[in-house]
Amino acid sequence: MSGWGTPSRTVTLGRVQPQSPALRTIYCNHREANFAHRYKGNSISTTKYNVFTFLPKGLYEQFRRVANLYFLMVSILSATPYSPVHPITNMVPLSLVLLFSLIKEAFEDWQRFQNDMTINNSLVDVLQAQGWESLQWKKLQVGDIIRVKQDGFFPADLLLLASTNVDGICYIETANLDGETNLKIRKALERTWDYVTPEKACEFKGEVQCEQPNNSLYTFTGNLVVDNQTMPLSPNQILLRGCSLKNTDYIVGTVIFTGHETKVMMNSMNVPSKRSTLERKLDKLILALFSTLFSMCLLGAIGSGIFIDRKYYYLGLSQSVEDQFNPSKRFLVIILTMLTLLTLYSTIIPISLYVSIETIKFIQSSQFINKDLNMYHAESNTPASARTSNLNEELGQVEYIFSDKTGTLTRNLMEFFKCSIGGEMYGTGMTEIEMGVAERKGIKVQEAKTSTNSLREKGFNFDDVRLMQGAWRHEPNHDACKEYFRCLAICHTVLPEGEETPEKIRYQAASPDEAALVLAAKNFGFFFYRRTPTMIYVRESHVEKMGKTQDVSYEILNVLEFNSTRKRQSVVCRYPDGRLVLYCKGADTVIYERLGTGNDDLNKVTRVHLEQFGSAGLRTLCLAYRDLAPDLYESWNEKFITAKSSLRDREKRLDEVAELIEKELILIGATAIEDKLQEGVPNCIQTLSRAGIKIWVLTGDKIETAINIAYACNLLNNEMKQFIISSETDAIREVEERGDQTEIARFMKEEVKKQLKQFLDEAPQYFCSPSGPKLALVIDGKCLMYALEPSLRIMLLTLSLNCSSVVCCRVSPLQKAQVTSLVKKGARKITLSIGDGANDVSMIQAAHIGIGISGLEGMQAVMASDFAIAQFRFLEDLLLVHGRWSYIRLCKVVMYFFYKNLAFTLTQFWFTFGTGFSGQRFYDDWFQSLYNVIFTALPVVIVGLFDQDISSSLSKKYPELYKEGVRNMFFNRRIVAIWACFAVYQSLVFFYFVSLSSSTSRDSDGKMFGLWDVSTMAFTCVVVTVNLRLLMMCNSITRWHYISVGGSIIVWFVFIFVYSGIMTRFDRNDNMFWVIYVLMSTSYFYITLLLVPVAALLGDFLYLGVQRWFFPYDYQIVQESHKDDADSINTPDSQETKEHLTPDEARSNAISQLPKEVSKHSGFAFDSPGYESFFATQFGKYVPPKAWDVARRASMKSKSKPK
């Protein structure tokens, strides 16, 4: 058991493990003795900072950003004499940005702290002086004996001492750890079973010697020493923090690892942080700005080296001159001027860009995505949740979606839907697929199936008056019915949970199929309500006569387990009257092989039914039984026991023994379970594919099931050319049977290569012709393994990129991740993975965006995801509305920042030419420092939040608009170049219009303006223009736009009124004194203020008009065609987009939902737990023994029986 290590790839160590001593000794129930060891307390802290580390650590984090570091350097530089500006010029924006970021960090950390406190302060019963006392978790210490009640969480890693259940057994749920919701069993050592009551527990004095804390979830080595008797401990006795107790009144345990030393805490890994593609492109833009900055500085510096000359005597260069202006050291002049200009032009780097983007994204995700009622799932009370705010705009550029099937496309809700008993088909429901067929034929489908059946519950969607309420007694084949129901009620590995009444009981099953079957039996009147290791108790109704119920107990003698090779499961049971029966359920193929002779008619009819079920997308199982003679059974049982206890090849030998008895079966009938699709999945998929998104289904299911679901989801249809690469061909099977592993590998690789090549040759002829069919690829896990090898990878990629849908079935979690990164890295497309289970984690982490389905199953996928939504269909809103908007908004924000800083800095640059390249600043220090953080900061954030090109309902109505994001139409070189051109043009207008027009007196009193008057004039124009430019790029203008834009301009005026109106005695240049009043007393001011912004924006306006009218974007066309629409407030519940399908659309919609014309596959499907763990081990993760497996324990018991 401990042989399995967790691979280092999946686990990052949280902390350095304490190395010595190698052993930890814990004295149970003896605080003083443990005190000497100074074990860590049980309080945890997940905060990043504490009061003391906040500042240094927080600042360090901030300065890891290039822009911040740059500004720090510039700030330092501006404290030197080479700087033309006062240090505040760069310090103020930097400190404001840092302050804001730090406050944000502190706020987030505070929330984490609050969270920790809630956990640390939860209460648990601790043994103290003969009684249980409630104590806070954080006060718990190693060695304490505690009691945990049902559904409670374990506060630390515990050693299980005793349980209220018999045999010291307790059930735990590990969903928080590994995402598995099935219950697991832990069993205390027999020696400690009795310490249940506080009185007894007080007497317990034991000593635990165990390993030091480590992060391996599935291993534990240690000994318990009680009264000098040493007993080995295994993971079976360990209850890990994070798990919860189920099905057990309470347990008593002793604390062995606390707080951060618990295994779950030592496993807490940092989710790899993802950066959006836009942000990575932004880095390039910043880099471009840096190089622009550098060339500007270089140009200016060279200019200054040439300019400087003693002939300008008024510069006082004749005597001793500092290096920067020393004409005899021209080279030094160039270098130092370089530094000067670097500080002067620093505004070209938009320092507040990152913090603005972060704020925008944070609000987008926390207010818009998390609170969108369109993505709120009322049934489960689950809103969407953005777990990271980094990737909002990435949602607007997704090109490939990788989806898990179970739980994502389907509900992971198996509903007993139809059945065939003794050659008669029962069940009146229609699947969505069948409805699609019916609709095509023009039959009106009545949705009346819900009301009639009052008994209907989740998992049982069956109605047929011939069977319900005991009516089956009147059926001609009522004996078959009885066997059928008994088979359902007995042949399974389900655990009942909760009260033993039909209403309250819950079934805990490893596979949802099984739960559905047991549930069906319950609804048919065969209520399985209790299981002990050897017995199954069934409350049977209507058996003797109508309305009578009786409790029957069946002794379970053997369980022959399900696995993927056997594809069947059998139970040997003894009736109270001694009748020995073997009940078997399994795939039609394996059952039919093992049927006894006779009954050919029944078998034939049932097979027809199976095919019908299969084509309707239902999952089928065949049920059969066999009466056993006692002597036959006994002789077989001996073989079984030897096989069971054999040490080598146990599984194989067990299979062989099973074959001996699983024959001459008598077919009872077949079950048909509907793997229910999530609500709105087909529609959503269709919308997404209209948006140009390609959807790949990666599933662990078998090829038939996968194809069936793909049909149901609109992913495949009959018009498509399907390429199927499957390992289930005769040729491969033949080689496999020979059993030579290397030969199999070689052969399969050849086979896969051959097929890939053939399909690649075929493909062009389809997609080259305009009306040709779309392509689809179906490939299974085994073939994928070979296709993913480096030599074939390219072929696979080329082929699959040409397909509009791809279905990968029977893939392992690792392969899911491999396929995802194949597209991500190989094709450099933006990928999104969506899944719900622990097996999707790797895929979720591999993709650009990981989406977890929050709701039923464990939290593992959600914890690893970037966004969590409750339903697959919410993807439509998330991508087409939020993603699209975020992308467009962020592009606007980035471009606007780029523009406003460039335009502003360039005015400064042009001025440099007129100052003998001396690096004299044009603007006042405060103007320059507040430009980015005050005068132009808020409106752009408002745009980042509110801008909407078209309404959300139109976004969904025209999914094609999404393609603009995929093609990155709003942030590419062309756009940057256009903005740059206008920034240059505007800066020229700002500088030259203002300076040229002020060359003569601008006052009727004949007085002249000085430098600071001109620069204030220019700056006013810049602020006004830049803010107005923002309004011009808005697609929707709310009151907040006006407030922020108007506010920014007003703030500038208020600032300058105050700033130039006061003069303190303290260190301040009084250059600016009264400047604005002087300016505003002239008519020139107003004339210029009208002229310059209009002149500057004229070019932009013309561009916008021409662009929109002659080279419009798609969204602009939609805007125009809908501009006369009344501003319909699209209510969150409005489904208008779906209702507005034209008849043609509706028809194609319906047609595409049809299944393959004739599918000969009979729809066998069964989620076998063995199958799951097969992949788990392949993935490298060790899965603990199947603790749900009560049946195994049952069979263990039976072993001892014959003695």
């Binding site: 027009s997 007196s1001 009727s1004 002249m1008 709310t1038 004194f1073 002229l1091 002149a1095 004229l1098 009218w1109």
Partner: protein, 320 residues
Amino acid sequence: MTDTDRGTQRDRNSAFYLFTQQNLPACKPVLTPEWVFMTFLFIGFIFIPVGLVTLRASHSVVEIVERYDIGCVPEPFRINKVSYIQDDSIPKNCSLSFKVPKYMKAPIYIYYQLDNYYQNHRRYVKSRSDKQLLHGQNQHGISSCQPVEVNNDRPIIPCGLIAWSLFNDTFTFIRNRAELKVNRKNIAWKSDREHKFGKNVYPFNFQNGTLIGGGKLNPRIPLSDQEDLIVWMRTSALPSFRKLYGRIEKDLDVDDVVVVHLMNNYNTYSFGGKKKLVLSTTSWLGGKNDFLGLAYVFIGSSSVTIAVVFTLLHLLSHRH
């Protein structure tokens, strides 16, 4: 989202609800060709009249510009103007005359214009001490005045390169053999006089060094009354600039001949700067400067042109 009852009607109309659901009332302007056309036309209709009014104001100004830096150097020194200007023994007086082209209504402003003079050079701009100018000698913050802060270990008031290089050409105007009185008061901005230059600060130790940069100051007049200095110290934005010298408060008639006697003291010869004398009247918009008017007219007329072209293009193209 904790409240599952999806909100009452009141909640639904609250600003926060509309905000989170991104349904805030907004106007969604669509830049249709009509809008573009109308906007351009509107700009045209506003700008052309404003431009014409502005141009008219500019044209109503009568301006006489006379360059004198070369003319005032006697022929023999034209080869080496620098030695001429630096030689104190050579008399610097010079005279020029011009005819008034148009009737000039008082007040007539007298400017001197310097070209290629980098008053906005960084070394130059920062070489002053605003504290000293306002508070005088007892202030020590004169380190910014480098390299002209002390002479003979005593601080210079006013210190710094700007003050040191004070312009010192002087002009007297004679019309019909009668001197035209030049009012040299109130030529600086009021705010400068009252708040930046101290009433009790007197020039001290000024231009006493070995190198004389420019004009000298009367040590008995406080800085706040040294308006030449105040004007000079409001540094210009561009390397070509005018500064107010004084006012003639008499009208000049057409064809009046004005003779200017000037002292050509200031050295612009070392760096090839030009010196010009400017006489100008003003309008409501200040001195003669066609730039604003032309810009207005240009933008207005191009707007109209664009509007027309755009309409034509729109009519010719067949969108929709």
